[in-house]
């Protein structure tokens, strides 16, 4: 059974179409990055998956309908919306008590041991913690819950770079065990690139790319071409072209390595470059329309 199975998800807010037929399958044990520009429909997708919003189409998460069965689904799913959602009036100790009280899968000792690595004290109120500390607290609570699926919606938004790096390192080192599934959305590709097994690009409510990282590596190649070979390179129909320090960098989709090697230095593009190549195209089309 797939962890998440979505078919033809559609959602409109008034005349704005947030999701325009999203098909998505996430298998257990994957770390999937949901990447797209602001307003692409990332949050709406994640909210649908954790039962916060109803939408048209078929959606099954761990064998349940999230909208109809949110209460029971959340036994097996954890969700971090963004850093600002912990209740500000609550004390850290109360948050631990409450989690232990209502969540049957919460391991209090584990949360305490995560918190012991930080400077967060039990008596502190959440409103008195820094943004980074609130994220540490939320992560400590979430990582102490033994669930099958963790959904993260821009979890590091507004944090400084030290906390951002620490966030993903902790997640990978102390949480991910190969059985769990993580679905994380972000508009910052570089931040999550190194932890992902799969990547989904979303733009204006549609999926632009849905592939494993290996597939991305196999499919996309970048060639650095001098001016003399530019015309030959362009004949191979690059997906995207940019100029850097007087040389052209062309990104190809599904072109074999050998003919490209004859044109110049071939390398694997970063996920950010693939993202720009794919999204930049739609951006241009959008502006032209």
């Amino acid at each position: 059974m797939s962890c998440i199975r979505a078919r033809g998800l559609r959602k409109a807010f008034g005349s704005t179409i947030a999701l325009d037929g999203v098909d998505l399958t996430v298998e257990a044990g994957r770390i999937v990055g949901l990447i797209g520009p602001n307003g692409a429909g990332k949050s709406t997708t994640l909210h649908a998956i954790v039962g916060l919003t109803a939408c048209e189409g078929e959606l099954e998460v761990l064998g349940r309908d999230p909208w109809a069965q949110r209460g029971s689904l959340m036994h097996d799913v954890c969700f971090i919306a963004d850093v600002a959602v912990m209740p500000r009036w609550m004390r850290v100790g109360q948050a631990l008590d409450f989690m232990a009280g209502v969540h049957p899968r919460f391991d209090r000792a584990r949360a305490e041991s995560f918190l012991a690595r930080t400077t967060i004290r039990h008596a502190s109120r959440i409103r008195d913690l820094s943004k980074g500390m609130v994220t540490q607290l939320h992560l400590a609570l979430i990582m102490a819950v033994d669930v099958k699926l963790l959904v993260l919606d821009e979890p590091t938004l507004g944090l400084d770079i030290l906390y951002r790096k620490q966030f993903y390192d902790t997640l990978l080192n102390d949480y991910f065990d190969g059985d769990r599934t993580i679905l994380v959305s972000t508009h910052d590709v570089a931040e999550v690139e190194h932890i992902l097994t799969d990547v989904v690009f979303l733009d204006r409510g549609r999926i632009v790319l849905d592939a494993s990282m290996e597939e991305v590596q196999d499919r996309y190649l970048e060639v650095v071409v001098g001016p003399d070979r530019l015309a030959a390179a362009r004949a191979l129909r690059p997906l995207h072209e940019r100029t850097l320090l007087g040389r052209s960098i062309l990104l190809f989709d599904g072109v074999a390595r050998e003919p490209l090697a004859a044109l110049g230095e071939v390398r694997s593009p970063g996920l950010a470059d693939v993202f720009v190549a794919l999204m930049g195209g739609t951006q241009t089309a959008r502006e032209a329309a």
Partner: protein, 307 residues
């Protein structure tokens, strides 16, 4: 990952593991409300404290002659009871005011500060959440009010006794007149009825709290005011107007046999009339309306996102 064998916190692990899961969740949801809204018990407690202080000062400047005169006339024993009734009434009123403010904030605040996304990330259904919030004014508040009134009554009786002793006047006379168990029985009975009577008011406030994007207080009052104004002008001080006013302010004398206008004091247990309590259609209609409002609030909370 290294696991610590012992929790680092010195806070004792709360031992309620044998409860069935829904009850356990409900218990923690109620505690959560008390953590967030400490005013729920602080404000009525402050009112009770003021009542004790006021009664104490009152007992100071009563002369022994007056004390004796009042005790001598059986018809005036009510005067001794009067401060006790007054304290109970003001604490109850304080409880109602805080309950209304609480209900208006309960489902609105969590959307305003976005914490609804945190609460909804936990395995707690909207049904359970809304019911726990409805239980605060209807189950918890009566218990808080009752407890505070009992404590205040004991404090008033003890302080008055001390004043009497200091003036060389036998406090046993007071205790012979004072029937606290009777007062508390009437109080428990009255609280039960008033809670049933006010249930649709609280449920309405919760519904508005779940619905309104801004100023739930105004949205809660506006339709009532509109109905009252139109009803008053269209039909005179007739059915709609008096019914709304009665729902908010009336009902105190409903379950007693002392007359509909409360002119006579309740003096014995015979004045308590449960048949009148449960025989009033208004009580049952109110509960039905409350259930509908709560159902709507649960549906709304399910689809509501932060504002």
């Amino acid at each position: 990952m290294t696991r610590d064998p012992e929790p680092l916190s010195d806070a004792p692990a709360v031992a309620v593991p044998t409860w069935p899961a829904p009850l356990r969740t409900f218990y923690w949801l109620i505690r959560r409300e008390l953590w967030e809204h400490r005013v729920l018990y602080i404000a009525p407690a402050a009112v009770a404290a003021l009542g004790v202080i006021g009664t104490f000062i009152g007992s100071l400047h009563l002369s022994n002659a007056e004390r004796a005169a009042r005790l001598a006339d059986p018809a005036s024993t009510y005067d001794y009871m009067e401060p006790f009734g007054f304290v109970a009434g003001t604490v109850f009123l304080g409880g109602v005011v805080v309950s209304i403010l609480y209900c208006l904030a309960a489902l609105h605040g969590e959307r305003r500060d976005r914490s609804i996304l945190f609460w909804k990330s936990l395995p707690v259904s909207d049904l359970m959440t809304v019911l726990s919030k409805a239980a605060v004014p209807t189950l918890l508040m009566p218990v808080i009010v009752f407890t505070l009134v009992v404590v205040a009554h004991l404090a008033v009786a003890a302080l008055t006794s001390l004043v009497w002793l200091a003036n060389g006047f036998d406090p046993r006379l007071l205790w012979a007149e004072l029937d606290l168990p009777f007062l508390w029985t009437v109080l428990a009975y009255g609280l039960t009825f008033m809670t049933l009577w006010h249930a649709p008011v609280f449920a309405w406030m919760l519904l508005v709290s779940a619905w309104a994007r801004r100023v739930p207080f105004v949205w809660a009052l506006a339709p009532l005011a509109a109905i009252a104004i139109v009803g008053r002008l269209a039909f005179g001080a007739g059915p709609t107007f008096s019914h709304l006013a009665g729902r908010l302010t009336g009902g105190f004398t409903g379950p007693f046999t002392v007359g509909s206008r409360g002119e006579a004091p309740v003096t014995s247990l015979a004045d308590l009339d449960p048949a009148r309590l449960f025989g009033q259609p208004g009580v049952w209609i109110g509960l039905l309306v409350a259930a509908l409002f709560l159902f709507a609030a649960i549906r709304l909370r399910r689809s509501r996102s932060p504002i």
